[in-house]
Subunit: 157 residues, 2 copies
């Protein structure tokens, strides 16, 4: 078994344990730095009343807490299923060096998790979205953006 296969088995174990404990759907994820597991997560949507508590999000949050950072540069992410758009977005913000996944988004659709609708919505024009998305108040909001630009002590990311 390669090191990558070994780490993936651990992500799969997280998916199985979380499901068996009725924490949420059958999804698990770990974050690895070098040869060390620095974060773990599994889906906890239903048990924690948090629609953002997917396996990848919980694992990224756990790893960042453990490493005291908001960037996972030099880390690898192992997830038992191809990330949904929310989790893929979170992965890009965390900036790991590689992502390994096992089940595909089609596999997820077969068992009732249809991420493909959300993937389609990402690239749909705003006026064609299933959830109406409406612009208002830009003039006032833009003043805060200007204030950020002018802020001397800001911490960029």
């Amino acid at each position: 078994m390669t090191r990558e296969e070994k780490f993936m088995m651990e992500a799969i174990r997280c998916s199985s344990n979380g499901m068996q404990n009725n924490e949420g759907g059958p999804f698990g994820c770990i974050v690895v730095r070098g040869e060390e597991i620095v974060g773990r997560g599994n889906n906890k949507v239903t048990s924690s009343n948090d629609p953002t508590a997917h396996a990848e999000i919980t694992a990224i949050r756990d790893a960042c807490k453990n490493l005291n950072t908001f960037q996972l540069t030099d880390c690898e992410i192992y997830t038992s299923c191809e990330p949904c758009p929310m989790c893929l977005g979170a992965i890009y913000w965390a900036r790991p060096k590689a992502v390994y996944y096992a089940n595909t988004r089609m596999d997820a659709a077969v068992i009732g998790f249809d991420d493909s609708m959300i993937y389609d919505e990402m690239s749909a024009p705003l006026e064609k979205r299933k959830i109406p998305i409406i612009q208002l108040g830009r003039e006032e909001a833009y003043k805060v953006f200007k204030a950020w630009q002018d802020k001397a002590d800001k911490k960029p990311y």
Copy 2:
């Protein structure tokens, strides 16, 4: 001022306060049900070492906690900037009835937050992604998906 403009002003206030308190970038969000604000959030990425702590994610988590649910049906989301792909994904999972935003993703790019790269990555084929994404271990992971299908006491979402 319409009710929508009034609520947007509150989201903008969240964006300004969070920035002034050095909690993170200049982004704020509220969740509204009927005429009541049921959740609030602002960007806390740098102060909480959490790359997922965008305004929309923190507001959704706050609202779900307050309402004791993982679905924001019948709610509206007011965000001071067009959601990034991670937050848009979270919004689809939370399923509110409408989203209002003020600044655009182009406005965000001008002040250094380039969400458009992540939008492009969403629709890029896996083999062309900036972060390598590699499949392995599907056979083992799929067993857990099968177990979910067969699970008698599961809570679907």
